[in-house]
């Protein structure tokens, strides 16, 4: 036979199991009251339970302990750092019975089991809150990258702050650069109609003014009681509890997050403040990014403007220079044609005038071309071209200028009938440039063009048996106006370059997604190698 004590212990154990799995505070009250009633046979039972900010009661609590009322109080132990704050949870069990029997101990144990249940409830709440916090922080992080506008990002951050702290209203103010006034103010929770009725942005007086002047977090149980409270404008929804945290960007206060009206009419907690600060740091990143972005855009716009000016300037300058050149070159030619009384030397003089005019003209054309490519104003007109045919045509056009002791050789059989995607005019210009250079510096020997199939690329090499370029000059050979010392001191002939040809060549080949390289040995010769992607610019970039 089990003893009464055994039965009591078993019942309490069962109640304990039940209480340990309760979902919330009200379930705790109901369960506790039910077991107390069943185990004591009391005619009245009242329970009051509180866990964190949640509380509930069942039955009518006695106004004061009378003869027949017996109270059992249990509360969570006070932790080291919680001396000033309320205990985590508390349970009051009131039993109305004519006399206290041996169920006194039962009630005491039941109340304790209720405490255990409340502890579990709190733990589960904290776990859920930690999860929510995690989600909110991830969401805030996503907002940073997904929202396009700064206002959009800030709004999402405020929403997350409200969700985390159970605030009904939220706002975010960003200060002007001087830190004295609000530049933007995002609000959440106030509907548009109310918003319109309130009117303009807060001017940063009252509590908002305090926050502007003093960057510390501010928590208020009653907003209205603060000495600086200036009251609300007309139509503003009533707000009582308040939490404000600073948004600190690179050491300075850039703004604030404001949260008001925590659910349940309770004040914001230290934990709320901590969470709001984490979100404020996300807002700080967004604001920093936005202002950085804005500055970048300004710089880009200024550069674009400068580039446009430069292009217009170059076009005008080219026009202005070409007009007098028109008459210089033209009249020289007229003189040369009419010159019956001029001697050999005078004719040579005229040829030099014309040659220099042509040289100047080539320079102006190259400069304008280079500037256009550099400014990104050259768009390639792409087509499928037979590179072999193009090479034939280029070779044919330079053949008349090949010096007597130089042999010009083209090896392009490997290309077959294959086509490559390129801008015919520009590739022709590139080939003329490279070939022209080779011929210009080679007085005897050969200039050999070799075209090879290199998979996705076509490799074009131009070898010459010229003087070569000193190793020291090679790294700078593709720079504008750079000419190897080998090139200096030569008398300029007609259509002679000014050190722009290779720079233009490089830019044009790169525009096609290709590369140019130069190899040279002094006294042996020079090889310029051009690699062009068969598929045109896009394919070339993909493979890099």
């Amino acid at each position: 036979m089990p003893t009464t004590d055994d039965i009591r212990d078993r019942l309490i154990a069962n109640a304990g199991i039940e209480l340990a799995s309760i979902a919330d505070v009200s379930a705790c009250c109901e369960t506790l009251a039910g077991h107390a009633r069943a185990m004591t046979g009391a005619d009245q039972v009242a329970v009051r339970a509180r866990a964190g900010s949640m509380s509930c009661s069942v039955g009518d609590l006695p106004e004061q302990a009378g003869d027949d009322w017996h109270a059992f109080h249990v509360a969570a132990p006070v932790g080291d750092d919680e001396t000033a704050t309320p205990r985590r949870w508390s349970v009051q069990l009131h039993v109305h019975a004519p006399s206290v029997g041996d169920w006194r101990m039962t009630c005491d144990l039941l109340a304790r089991q209720g405490g255990v249940g409340l502890e579990r409830v709190l733990e589960r709440c904290e776990l859920a809150q930690a999860e929510r916090r995690q989600v909110a922080l991830v969401e805030a992080g996503k907002a940073l990258s997904s929202e396009r506008t700064l206002d959009g990002v800030l709004r999402r951050i405020v929403e997350q702050a409200m969700a985390l702290t159970d605030a009904r209203y939220g706002a975010l103010g960003v200060l002007e650069d001087d830190g004295a006034e609000l530049a933007r103010f995002v609000t959440v929770g106030v509907d548009e109609e109310t918003h319109a009725r309130i009117g303009e942005l807060p001017r940063g007086r009252g509590i908002l003014g305090v926050l502007i002047e003093d960057p510390r977090p501010l928590r208020l149980d009653r907003l209205q009681d603060h000495p600086r409270s200036a009251g609300f404008p007309a139509h503003h929804p009533p707000m009582t509890t308040f939490l404000g945290v600073p948004i600190v960007t690179s050491g300075a206060v850039a703004g604030r997050i404001y949260l008001t009206e925590k659910a349940g009419g309770v004040p914001f907690t230290a934990e709320d403040e901590r969470l709001a600060q984490v979100l404020a740091s996300q807002a700080a990143i967004a604001i920093d990014n936005a202002s950085l972005n804005e500055r970048l855009q300004q710089v880009a716009a200024a550069l674009e403007e400068a580039s446009r000016h430069k292009s217009a300037f170059m076009a005008n300058m080219s026009h202005e220079l070409r007009s007098p050149l028109n008459t210089i070159i033209g009249y020289t030619r007229l003189l040369q044609e009419d010159a019956r009384n001029l001697d050999e030397e005078q004719l040579e003089d005229l040829e030099i005038v014309r040659g220099s005019g042509e040289h100047l003209l080539a320079l102006i054309t190259d400069l304008l071309d280079l500037q256009k490519v550099e400014a990104g104003r050259v768009s390639l007109v792409l087509g499928d071209e037979h590179l072999g045919e193009l090479l034939d045509a280029v070779v044919a056009s330079v053949r008349p200028t090949v010096p007597e002791d130089v042999e010009l050789v083209l090896e392009a059989d490997e290309l077959g009938d294959d086509t490559i995607t390129c801008d015919r005019t520009r590739i022709r210009q590139v080939l003329l440039n490279v070939l022209g250079n080779a011929l210009k510096f080679t007085s005897s020997g050969e200039v050999r063009i070799v075209a090879r199939d290199a998979g996705a690329y076509v490799k074009l090499s131009v070898h010459d048996t010229g003087p070569g370029i000193p190793e020291a000059d090679q790294p700078r050979i593709f720079e504008t106006f750079y000419q190897s010392t080998q090139a200096l001191g030569r008398r300029p002939g007609p259509r002679e370059g000014a050190g722009l040809g290779l720079a233009i060549t490089k830019l044009l080949v790169e525009l096609h997604g290709g590369t140019v390289a130069l190899q040279s040995t002094e006294g042996v010769g020079t090889t310029v190698t051009i690699r062009l992607p068969r598929g045109g610019p896009t394919q070339g970039h993909d493979q890099q």
Binding site: S323, N326, G330, L334
Partner: protein
């Protein structure tokens, strides 16, 4: 039959040079130094070809001249050759917009000019 060529260019030296080149080729040359007198010149003289500069000071640029001539049935058929120091691409685009017949770049290559004129007039002129 002589070919009559109208020359409209504000640059006196360039105009004088072109006149000599064209006369040497055997053409008759009539001239104007600005857009407005250029339009009048073409209306009055009904030339076989107009050589037209693009950038000219005054109320009418080369483009305006070309547009006016094209809009007037009496002059719409006169072939127009734009002779300009403007960059090739820029000028070429505009030439197409206005509907001119050819473009010769300044500095003028006389051989090219002759080729263009032969193409427009046939090669039996001035012979």
């Amino acid at each position: 039959m002589t070919t009559k060529i109208a020359l409209v260019d504000d640059d006196d030296a360039a105009r004088r040079m072109m006149r000599r080149v064209l006369q040497r080729m055997g053409h008759e040359v009539v001239e104007a130094a600005d857009g407005a007198s250029g339009v009048e010149l073409v209306q009055r003289e009904q030339p076989d070809v107009l050589l037209l500069d693009l950038r000219m000071p005054g109320e009418l640029s080369g483009f305006d001249v070309a547009r006016e001539l094209r809009a007037d049935p009496a002059t719409a058929q006169v072939p127009i050759v734009v002779v300009s120091a403007s960059t090739h691409l820029e000028a070429k685009e505009l030439v197409e917009q206005v509907g001119c017949d050819a473009f010769v770049e300044k500095p003028v290559d006389f051989d090219e000019l002759e080729r263009v004129l032969v193409e427009l007039l046939g090669d039996d002129d001035g012979a």
